[in-house]
Structure formats: structure tokens, C-alpha cells
Symmetry: C2
Subunit: 138 residues, 2 copies
DNA sequence: TGCATAATTGTAATGATTATAAAATAAAAA
DNA sequence: TTTTTATTTTATAATCATTACAATTATGCA
């Protein structure tokens, strides 16, 4: 569990005014490293904040991403997921159990051909398949 | 321009019965390497086939992907694009002009940590940024 | 306190995709 | 060729995540 103070400071560091809702939403994403959807965030926090609006969740996540506090993970066609981890990593989605795994890779060795003088803003490696657990269950 | 015969044969090779619509749709994707959306495919082919239904385009693309004839490219949050190129390659989306570029990379050197015994079905490298052309325009 | 600004809310609109059932076409059987 | 059956295509409605918008509430400051 992270202290409210740290969460608030981090928002400020990224140029975001730390309102109560924003703190709660960012805190949730940081403490629950499950790449949640808007709906998951909304439903979970609604218990604690009954007046919370889904529009606020959308607006807040959009603001967070613009300010580069979080990243959206576009591994599913039909919904956007969110990630607060700042280190470079890829995502694996198990097509059987639905879980999304983080993984590291040797990005320094990765060489792109034909993208000289292109400006990179966001790089994603997305893999779909069957996770170790599901694969062992046969 | 590819011959109808080749297109038809390739569909059969992938276990797809080559109906007129299916041939036209696959032919379009192969001959127009622009990662088209469903809407682009539908609108373009509608000129030639006025009775074409958008549902048919959806159904056909779904069938093609299930049979591994084509791949869906999920680089945009709000729409799916389609690609008939079979070689391994990544995608770059220019955030200014919207164009999607193919690029090659040294996939043999890519090492994933923590995915031992995971089964891979589909791997995608997606990059967003500004393309060379747009970057030079300042 | 009163005013300006920012944040939040609720509802409606959008738009891509999917579901469904009917119609058209093709293939198989008689 | 006719009849029957299976496949493909179509049109329309439903779904659902996201966005637009305008009203309301909260915050900061003179
Ligand atoms: Mn992650
Ligand atoms: Mn491509
Ligand atoms: Zn699994
Ligand atoms: Zn560009």
C-alpha cells in the first residue's frame, strides 16, 4: 500500500492537480497491477465513492495518459486497459484465461529497418497465446 | 495485379471456399497494401458490387483471420485494420498524417524474459510517433 | 462573501461491431 | 430437370465502449 502523500506528489510532478478523485483513481491503478479497464476501475471505486461518475474515470484516465503518468494498453480490440508501470515492458494476453502478463525484453538489441528519422512516441510489444498455467492444464 | 486464379487457389489452400465476394475482398486487401479498415474495404468494393453488405465484409474478414489467411492490426483504439502480408513485420502509425508503415526488425534477436513455456499465437510490434515525411515538414 | 475557474456529473449521441433471421445462391439428391 | 439441403449473403436491430455536451458542484482567490 502506497501513502496518499506519494500519490499526490507524483500527480503534481506530472502536472496534474491532485483532486480527491484523481488520487483515488491513480492509487487504484498503482496498487492493482492488473491492467484494469475503465469499467473495472469505475465499479471498484464506486463502492468507496458512490457519487463517482464513469465520465470522470474516462476524463481522468485521458488526462493521466496525456501527461504521461500512465499508459493505455491496447491488446484487446474492444476495450482499453491502463497501466501505471513506468519501466519498458511488453504484454502477453492469454486467450484462454484472459490474464494479461507483463514481460521484459532486451529492447536495446531491437533494430528497426526502414524507420530512420522517424520519431518514436510509444512502442508496444503485444503477444497473444496461451499462458504457462493454462498450457499445463492441457 | 494478381490473377483471379491465384487468389482463388490461395483461398482454397487456407480452407476457404472461394465465393465471388470472398475473392473480391481478398484481392482488394492483397492489391492495396494500406491496412484498410472494414469501412474502407466496404466503400471501395461497393462501387464494383453495389449489392455488397457490410455484414458480409465483417463475416468474411473474420473467416479469413480464423483461417490465418490475413491478420488484424490493432494499432488504433477505435477500429480494426487488416493486413495480407505474411512475412513477420511491425507497424508504425504516424500520429500526424495517420499513415501506417510496415517495418522489418531482427525478430531472431528478440529475447522475452518470463514467458518460458508460454505458447505464442500472435506477436505484434506497434509503434506510434511522427513519420519521416511529417517530421521534415516541421 | 462573491466571483472566476476547474472538476465532476448525468444524459444523450456516436460509431464500430455483433446478433439475428430472412432471402438468395450453390450444391446435392432424386 | 425438379426437389431438397446446405451455404452464403443481406438488411435491420441490438450492443456496448467511448465521446460530446451542458448543467451542477467544488475550489481558490479578491
Ligand atoms: Mn503492464
Ligand atoms: Mn503490415
Ligand atoms: Zn491462461
Ligand atoms: Zn506522417
Amino acid at each position: 500500500m502506497q501513502l496518499i502523500q506519494n500519490i499526490s506528489d507524483e500527480l503534481i510532478l506530472y502536472g496534474i492537480k491532485p483532486s480527491y478523485h484523481r488520487i483515488k483513481i491513480y492509487e487504484y491503478i498503482v496498487n492493482n497491477n492488473i491492467h484494469p479497464t475503465v469499467d473495472t476501475i469505475f465499479k471498484t471505486l464506486s463502492n468507496e465513492i458512490p457519487t463517482l461518475s464513469k465520465t470522470t474515470v474516462y476524463n481522468t484516465l485521458k488526462l493521466f495518459e496525456e501527461q504521461k503518468l500512465i499508459k493505455s494498453v491496447n491488446i484487446e480490440e474492444n476495450e482499453i486497459r491502463y497501466d501505471a508501470r513506468k519501466n519498458i515492458h511488453g504484454h502477453f494476453k492469454c486467450e484462454r484465461c484472459g490474464k494479461i502478463y507483463d514481460f521484459d525484453y532486451n529492447y536495446n538489441d531491437l533494430k528497426y529497418k526502414g524507420l530512420e528519422h522517424f520519431i518514436f512516441n510509444k512502442t508496444d510489444i503485444m503477444i497473444k497465446g496461451i499462458c504457462k498455467l493454462c498450457a499445463s492444464e492441457n
